[in-house]
């Protein structure tokens, strides 16, 4: 395909300006890539890239700073919401967001996310739930599905000992401080579009309403699930969405309107 061919055409899909044109380190088919794009797209939409401070968490998304053209603080595992709180209080006029995995946010960082949401910190949280610890090699996460085999639940998650997967969005939606909370997926083009809207909404919640916005994105980890990307993607609809229903669980602005 030569470039000349397309110049006369209208480009209807392109790389967002906030997303650097580099190859990511993500495994083939890993949906962190899609989610990164959607975050970049939201920043483009509000034209905030030049102001934004991102907080990277520890997990496969730790290299955030290589992919977004924004300022980034690398937080200790689980503590991104606290780090973001410190940053936001210093720069109340600048958009601040965290990007966290399910091990990071729903296990070690439980306390930080709950209290950050409860304080109603006006930040945006992107929560990538791939039902496992991707970076460390596929251990059980708080979101691992019942009977799911992982390297630390080799016989499948045993709900009677390990408990049930936690639905963080519902939990956080229950807090007064949470202004917007939604769960989305990126397994189909339609879901990707919805996810993009939710992420934009979560930024808008921060920018317009000075509220805490949260989006959980169901995602794949083909590598640690031991599946090819296509099968992994299919699992999202087959196994994840039934347990983690999609939807907007709180929208204070809408309620207020």
């Amino acid at each position: 395909m030569s470039i000349e061919n397309v110049e006369a055409m209208k480009q209807v899909f392109s790389r967002p300006a906030s997303l650097n044109a580099v190859q990511t380190h993500f495994c083939p088919g890993c949906q962190h890539g899609v989610i990164h794009r959607l975050v970049a797209q939201a920043m483009d939409a509000f034209d905030i890239q030049a102001q934004t401070i991102g907080v990277a968490s520890v997990g496969c998304s730790v290299f955030l700073y290589g992919y977004f053209g924004i300022d980034v603080i690398e937080a200790p595992h689980g503590r991104a919401p606290a780090v973001a709180t410190g940053a936001k209080r210093v720069h109340p006029q600048r958009p601040v967001f965290t990007y966290q995995g399910d091990g990071d946010l729903a296990a070690i960082g439980t306390s930080e996310i709950i209290h950050c949401a409860n304080r109603g910190e006006p930040i945006t949280v992107i929560f990538v739930n791939n039902t496992t610890y991707g970076m460390t090699g596929g251990q059980m996460a708080p979101t691992t599905l019942p009977s799911q085999k992982t390297s630390t639940s080799p016989y499948g998650r045993n709900t009677s000992k390990d408990g049930y997967p936690i639905r963080m969005t519902e939990l956080l939606a229950g807090l007064e401080g949470t202004a917007y909370a939604a769960r989305v997926a990126v397994d189909t083009p339609q879901h990707v579009l919805q996810a993009g809207k939710a992420i934009k909404k979560a930024f808008q919640t921060q920018l317009r309403d000075n509220g805490f916005g949260f989006v959980e994105v169901l995602s794949t980890c083909p590598t640690n699930w031991g599946m090819n990307p296509v099968d992994a993607n299919a699992r999202v609809a087959e196994e994840m969405i039934p347990y983690f229903p999609l939807g907007v669980f709180k929208d204070a602005a809408a309620q207020g309107e």
């Binding site: 055409m9 480009q11 495994c27 890539g33 899609v34 990307p229 993607n233």
Partner: protein
């Protein structure tokens, strides 16, 4: 139709998600490795003729390897 997609051979990691996402089944996987060692997605000029420019393939691509163009 004159809609087109451009798949970056260098960015593509050969995950195949676009193949599944295309409602018209226009994309296929190459049998040749790219320099990163992946078999990238490709679309034949023939198949391209049926592209509706719906962007579905691009929406699901984790590597933002696809650009989509529509007739003006």
């Amino acid at each position: 139709m004159a809609n087109r997609i451009v798949i970056s051979e260098q960015l593509c990691k050969g995950c195949g998600l676009c193949v599944v996402a295309c409602p018209h089944n226009l994309i296929e996987m190459s049998t040749e490795l790219n320099k990163h060692g992946f078999f990238p997605a490709v679309i034949t000029p023939d198949a391209m003729l049926s592209c509706t420019g719906c962007t579905f393939c691009a929406q699901v691509c984790p590597d933002v390897a696809i650009e989509v163009f529509r007739e003006r």
